[in-house]
Symmetry: C2
């Protein structure tokens, strides 16, 4: 199924099967949210001319497009528990800044050594390695600066502090960075050395942790209950892992042109992936299982309000790049 | 004057010249504070065994010693405006984590390519470049996680949010990272290309910004008034610049053994420094001027309570490594 097909698919919601059957237009939803997010990201780093190289480098990577899946998830989680897009937006931008930082650092020659990102030369190819390292650092710092601006919107400051703590934990040695180090440490090891448990540890930290932080932060700022936050965390853990399984599958089945980044890198880097460990077909089955578990985690929420999250899970499961 | 001499010097405070003339023992103060700070840093990243490489790498650099000048400044600023060491400690640790992050990234081959730090091999020499990049990222994230723990100590959450904003700004594209990028961009340029203004921009951002953030955060958490915070910011800007001028002087006058890091790097990297721009003697005069301006910024504060800050300024001015 093509990306456009998934995007344009109207999703019929359970429990609304009469005359006025509401449908959820995922494509329109994503386009609308992406416009708001891109505007907010653009405003977050006003450009002060070409002599300001770090701002130029931050904007180059942050405003390079991308699906904005994480910020949309943050907003959707916030709205699901009764919050608004405005309340979620500073956190949504913060999460995209953190995600962009991780891409810039991940592309460095000492890491994945990737020359292409989102169809353009990677940050270090344009600005040099040193500036790329610092650009990532500055984006990570800006994320924590930017998220605090929600406190001017009437959100109780205790919620803001809680959200910052959860966000920071999802990035550091209990989250994203821990997963990346475990990933690097597993390079060159054979399939027999690394089991599913270790691969899952890597992806739960490297990918799922930030997804989990993303929805938790949205739900916290939106005033969600502990039970709601926990359900959304479970949802995000599943789609996070799902995202990575699909990424692994795409890496071995798609060309660089289709992906907008160098394809086959995992094979070259001799990384353990789901397809290597369980084959393509079993990987696809696993992806479907994760998608189902993600959707099951949303039981109990209003199905109309939860429609964006159901749709995002399906989109991640069936994305083609 | 040796470091030990500066440390052991008892400072007599103005306005207390009668029988019970109180003196401030800087050495004892610094030793006591450093013990508390090192204990708090040690507790901030519990070590879960050698299989946890990122925690090992974080602890390797964070617990490698150092003078702990920044965390002490944070505590001293907090205490000066009526706060306590306990209230300042999470922020003080956060600042040391950020400082350590900047050292790890600064030492990378694509940056200063420094093999020695605090008398030991740099992070990337021990753990590899990729892990060093991620260790820095994780320390930066942990800083923002860790500082939130002050909210359990009865500090109003609005103050915590304010402190986080100020701290984040001091690290990113308006602070530390901006200064480092400007520094890199100036490499290879001749003295005639870079004036004092550009050199000051570099150091006000690369070094003074984090000092300024440090005392501002301490003062905010301690409940300081806007006027008090502004005075302390001025103090910190001066000692931050002072720190860098002295660093530049030491780099051309001391050996690697004395510094605990590779000496003469600035000369090799063809960096513009104060000694290059104005000569050693004028650089020393400039350092004294900055020290005086720093001390003048503290006028109006209780001189007994401000004693640690006066002493730290003197220490930075006269340090030998």
């Amino acid at each position: 199924m093509s990306c456009a097909m998934v995007l344009s698919k109207e999703i019929t919601l359970k429990g609304h099967e009469h005359e006025s059957k509401p449908t959820f237009n995922f494509e329109s939803y994503m386009v609308q949210k992406a416009i708001s997010i891109n505007q907010a990201l653009d405003a977050a780093i006003p450009f002060k001319g070409h002599h300001n190289k770090i701002q130029e480098a931050m904007r180059y990577s942050l405003l390079a497009g991308g699906k904005r899946a994480r910020p949309v998830l943050c907003i959707a989680a916030c709205e699901l528990v009764g919050g608004t897009e405005s309340i979620a937006m500073p956190a949504a931008c913060a999460i995209e800044m953190i995600h962009t930082m991780s891409l810039i650092h991940d592309d460095l020659p000492c890491m994945d050594n990737d020359d292409l990102r989102r169809g353009r030369p990677s940050s270090h190819k344009v600005f040099g390695e040193a500036v790329a390292v610092l650009t990532g650092d500055a984006l990570l710092a800006l994320a924590f600066d930017h998220i605090t601006s929600v406190s001017t919107m009437g959100v109780p400051p205790t919620r803001v502090v809680h959200a910052i703590k959860v966000l920071a934990k999802s990035v550091g040695h209990e989250g994203l960075a821990a997963g990346q180090v475990a990933d690097i440490s597993s390079e060159g090891l054979s399939v027999s050395d690394i089991g599913l448990e270790q691969l899952e540890f890597i992806h739960l930290h490297k990918t799922a942790a930030l997804f989990e932080g993303t929805v938790a932060v949205g739900a916290i700022l939106g005033g969600g209950s502990n039970e709601e936050i926990e359900k959304l965390r479970r949802f995000a853990r599943n789609i996070g892992l799902l995202f990575q399984v699909v990424d692994d599958i795409l890496d071995v089945t798609k060309s660089a042109q289709e992906l907008g980044k160098t394809a086959g890198k995992d094979l070259v880097a001799d990384k353990i992936t789901y397809p290597k460990l369980m084959g393509i077909d079993k990987s696809r089955e696993f992806a479907e299982k994760l998608n189902k578990e993600a959707q099951d985690s949303l039981s109990g929420f209003d199905s109309v309000k939860a429609a964006p999250l159901f749709a995002i899970a399906n989109y991640i499961a069936h994305r083609q790049n």
